[in-house]
Amino acid sequence: MRDNPVLRIVAKIIIPVILLFALYVQFHGDFGPGGGFQAGVIFAAGFILYGLVFGTEALRNAIPPGLLRFAIALGLVLYAGVGATTMLLGSDYLAYGALAHDLIGGQHLGIFLVELGVGVTVSAVIVTIFLAFAGRNDP
């Protein structure tokens, strides 16, 4: 598919929009439909489209597998770390109220961080699974 100019140009135009939309879904999940799971999948879809059009080798050069492995763990550690932080601050596990001076501010910060953790892990896992399957046919 690398030789098809229409596909290449359309993919190049649309991939930044997909990634931007994923960030919108990620950070707007408090107010509208969306959140970390959906945003992670959409973010990964942008990379998968890149891999489909330009080849898995190009995708592997864009995101090194080491970074993917790191990101898979990073999201879960971020989520669990928020819980550990609230415990260290003298509250219950994942009780976000302890993160800020007032309850609402703490809830906002806590939900923002755990949704970010969800998004990071989900997108890394999806790109990893795609690369693991689609990359096996490479010469």
């Binding site: 439909p33 959906q38 898979i72 669990a80 806590g110 939900i111 896992v125 399957f133």
Partner: protein, 185 residues
């Protein structure tokens, strides 16, 4: 009345898509049928006012799983093997299980019945207290990330485990570096 018509049309198309996926033998066409099925399911979720679930279904069911199945077809080939056995016993099992499930739904409360037990337990508390306790307009997000934070942590651990499992079984190849060991002939 309009909603009923839309529901009947959508559910009918769901059933048709499922039948087509069963009848087809070209795995590529079956994969596309699965994608259409997920898209219809996402529309059903929108009709049910579950936009967050519809969003997930559209992204995961239509997009990602279709791509993953296509990648797998690229590895194993697109033609189905002839079945060795006659499918009578599986058909019987499926029919009995389906009949039992339908029998089970007869006891369930009607859809959107406000008196249903599931709407009487913690839901009124969440709906009433969420704005003042979390300050977040989307109750789905406040339940998912705050009230049910442990469950979501568990879900994330499941996804993490899936990713680690795929890495352990299949692995990722390292980036190709220009090496002198394998000169191209």
């Amino acid at each position: 009345m309009l909603i009923e018509t839309i529901n009947i049309v959508l559910l009918g198309m769901l059933a048709l898509t499922a039948l087509a996926a069963v009848r087809l033998h070209d795995l590529f066409a079956v994969t596309i049928m699965f994608g259409i099925y997920s898209l219809l399911a996402a529309v059903v979720f929108v009709v049910l006012d579950a936009v967050d679930v519809a969003f997930t279904e559209a992204a995961v069911g239509v997009g990602i799983s279709t791509v993953l199945m296509l990648a797998t077809i690229g590895l194993v080939g697109r033609h189905e093997q002839r079945p060795v056995h006659r499918p009578l016993l599986p058909l019987l099992v499926v029919a009995v299980t389906g009949a039992a499930l339908v029998y089970g739904t007869l006891d369930m409360p009607f859809f959107a019945d406000p008196a249903a037990p599931v709407h009487q337990h913690v839901v009124p508390y969440y709906l009433g207290k969420s704005p003042e306790q979390t300050g977040i307009p989307n109750v789905v997000t406040s339940i998912l990330a705050s009230y049910r934070g442990y469950d979501t942590l568990g879900e994330l651990a499941v996804i993490f485990t899936a990713g680690v499992g795929v890495l352990a079984l299949l692995g990722l190849r390292r980036r190709k570096r220009p090496s002198k060991e394998h000169p191209t002939p």
